[in-house]
Symmetry: D2
Amino acid sequence: MVVGMTTMVILVSCPDQPGIVARITGRLYAAGANILTLEQHVEEGQLFFMRIVADVSRIADTAEMREGLQGLAAELAADLLVKDADERQRLAILVSRDGACLEDLLSKQRAGEINCEIPLVIGNTEALRGIAEISGIPFYCVPSEPGVGGPHEHRLLELMAAARVDAIVLARYMKVLSREFVAEYENRMINIHHGFLPAFKGARPYHEAWERGVKVIGATAHFVTAELDDGPIIAQGVTAVTHQSSVETMIKTGREVERRVLGEAVRAYLEHRIVAHKRRTIVFN
Amino acid sequence: MVVGMTTMVILVSCPDQPGIVARITGRLYAAGANILTLEQHVEEGQLFFMRIVADVSRIADTAEMREGLQGLAAELAADLLVKDADERQRLAILVSRDGACLEDLLSKQRAGEINCEIPLVIGNTEALRGIAEISGIPFYCVPSEPGVGGPHEHRLLELMAAARVDAIVLARYMKVLSREFVAEYENRMINIHHGFLPAFKGARPYHEAWERGVKVIGATAHFVTAELDDGPIIAQGVTAVTHQSSVETMIKTGREVERRVLGEAVRAYLEHRIVAHKRRTIVFN
Amino acid sequence: MVVGMTTMVILVSCPDQPGIVARITGRLYAAGANILTLEQHVEEGQLFFMRIVADVSRIADTAEMREGLQGLAAELAADLLVKDADERQRLAILVSRDGACLEDLLSKQRAGEINCEIPLVIGNTEALRGIAEISGIPFYCVPSEPGVGGPHEHRLLELMAAARVDAIVLARYMKVLSREFVAEYENRMINIHHGFLPAFKGARPYHEAWERGVKVIGATAHFVTAELDDGPIIAQGVTAVTHQSSVETMIKTGREVERRVLGEAVRAYLEHRIVAHKRRTIVFN
Amino acid sequence: MVVGMTTMVILVSCPDQPGIVARITGRLYAAGANILTLEQHVEEGQLFFMRIVADVSRIADTAEMREGLQGLAAELAADLLVKDADERQRLAILVSRDGACLEDLLSKQRAGEINCEIPLVIGNTEALRGIAEISGIPFYCVPSEPGVGGPHEHRLLELMAAARVDAIVLARYMKVLSREFVAEYENRMINIHHGFLPAFKGARPYHEAWERGVKVIGATAHFVTAELDDGPIIAQGVTAVTHQSSVETMIKTGREVERRVLGEAVRAYLEHRIVAHKRRTIVFN
């Protein structure tokens, strides 16, 4: 991106049909936008997905262009998202006791590797208050009750609403959220699972990986759905292990993968590069 | 690709300017073509590259569409390539004594992993005659003379011409070719180098890697240019080594990487997915 | 290994106890053997495993040394294996229709990357007869009956016995073998599974991987046990995929991983580097 | 490691000769030590390296055992290092403006992934004072003078001495140190280079990697020697890039690799797992 350039991200999903690219890019060209990147994907020969980044610096008022695109979307029966590429979204980070992913996200945000606001961190224990507050980010402790759902989820929703949160990152938050909570943040809540899904769901993936004697371990970032560790996968990473790797070693080396994979998924999300469809995601480059 | 579908590959390179995507896709839409995949890339904000795969099954005669695209290319000052996606190109494979890459290419061709004809294999020794002939492919032994260039290159060119060869693969061919020979097959001759370029050029990369004590070794597939091991890189792969890896071990495990990387580069070439520009390549997905 | 050197591989498994290394290496030193490599591993603080490669060139008759080691093994309650490192084992390869792994194993054997005899290839279809015979290896077609077990397994066992087979490689052999058959070749039969176990067991792992939307696919080489795709894992490899990867693409790029992983497992087996224990393997370097 | 267990690390380097393992492990056994892990390596058939971790909990006074080992080392003409495995070494971290590696090391130290004291951070600019001080670590700004060597190096040496520093980590410290300074910390100063050495030495490796069009970028952790970016390599990591990766993208994704590789090298150093020999390192598992 060139300094001073105003860029827009346009995401389109619709039934596949001839002429989609021509019609949308034609409209942009007519409006004075210049395409910087364009990627499209056709899923199973039926569904069309496209992401365009366009330079709109030469357009005095983009309202008309947006309207034109909305009209076109209606004709194509398309879902359309048009976003200012520089707009910073607001992320809440939920944690429990393991602070490695939290620290990494905060470090990447400071370094500009992920472009967002982080208005609050919420823990279900006090363990990571220090890490959040040292970075000047408000920390709220909302202990979980036993079972799924309950008053603590209301408190979470209140805090999110008050902080005008766009999306949630579960950075090793060890508590299952209710179907209702999940529905509120459908395709807007990212979890890092410390296992190579669909293998090793649940709370002790490294222990199970050791028992099973695998030679590669992994981590998975995915959108949260009502089914545990079953949502659309955004990013996965792996690292080799050997018979010498104890569970403790796996936890340490696995953390490196978790951080990397979660950072990658969050960056993709913030750049509007992810579209979830059924149990799959399209992740544009 | 659906059986019975006729598809075309369209490759465009031109100075970047507004409206390229709109104009080309508009033309295809008007002609009745349906875009299956489209990828574009802008290099340094100045040069535009695009690859389109289009379903042209519904177009009775594509000649008119091709003409229209040629006219558009002229307006855009573009290089244009339009190819039938199913057309099988003809590859010559040049070898010396190490047969692993040759065997792998022949195996992949048989399995349909690379879609081409291999009308001949040429060795500068007799060592690999058996491997070629066992697969029913004519083998020619053209011993190299000392120095660069000379009569053996004329013989090579004659054999290529007689076999109507589209492109050449140097599958561990250990002889430097002359500037003139290289010019004949500019961006149509792929070499596999058993080192991670630009490190470890020359004939003994694994020995040098051992001496230098690297912890990762690699292989590089690249277009051949007049400068040794310096042409545009198409694909690279790596594998970890340790202090325990002897040169012999590196040669064995390196071979695995060489095969994989060369196969990947050849497949990309055959699918018209590579564009070379200066010392870089665009390799569309 | 230096030419003309006689080397032995010694594999020891026993309950952990002080002094094992000292006692065994002391015995070897006293006998005139020189240790080239030594690796040991203690599993869960209880079981001790060690592999030694020793130069025994200076020992006129190794019988006495072997006896001494046997005595020591009895004292340590150890399983002991002592093998001439140069002895070539005899492998049978079982196949169905996909020839990529077979071709790769034959190519690696010719290149000396795996050091063994391959006295026969058995298919449950005729599909790969040509690949075996072109390499001068007898091919037997033993069609499978429906269900598990039955006359075809008897025929397989006869063929193995006649060919004095040490171990079996299932190179994409698509037929479940009976508990009895498996027991005959416990820890001597290696299967390549085209999925990242324990995820995606069964016959269609790439289809399931596509449905689940994973971003990494893998292959697993493992010893065969009575439970399908559940034996001790020897080697695993992975490769990244994206939303653009169709099932067909996964099959193609997965094959590359299958070949590499199977080759690695077979090489480790032939070099006496694998010890299976419960559902895990120790794979010495 | 079991809680309450006292463990020692023993590192041996000597000319290869029969009986080394037997004699050293025999001595340990006699003294009442129990070997937990043992790894050895013979370099070019001439030099023998071994690392042993031994449980010495049952030994009342290890002084005698140490003396015995010293005597044995003299007989074998060996370099010997005997260290309490739990002893925390003291690391100084030197930085300039890029804080990602520093933040990662501090985070890993807090999480117990690397076991050491960090008594001070020194910058040649003020840029990263905040990151150090937020973690409660003293920060000193020692601006570099032009050229190599000079008063600032004296100041650095004073600070190291006052803080009783065992080793130095250059975490993206962008200033060449003099031959004299380097000699003071031979094999005790680790640098992270943001390129895949020996390719891309110097200050702008990502720019050069982009120009050269490589498809894989890497990072290298190495001991610092008088020659720039030429010391023995400890660890290397890589990540794939494409034609779409701008220099800025490479810098971002490269950082992830730098962090991982530097952390890996520092952990190996603190665990006494590295031996440098000529331009190579042995890195025990």
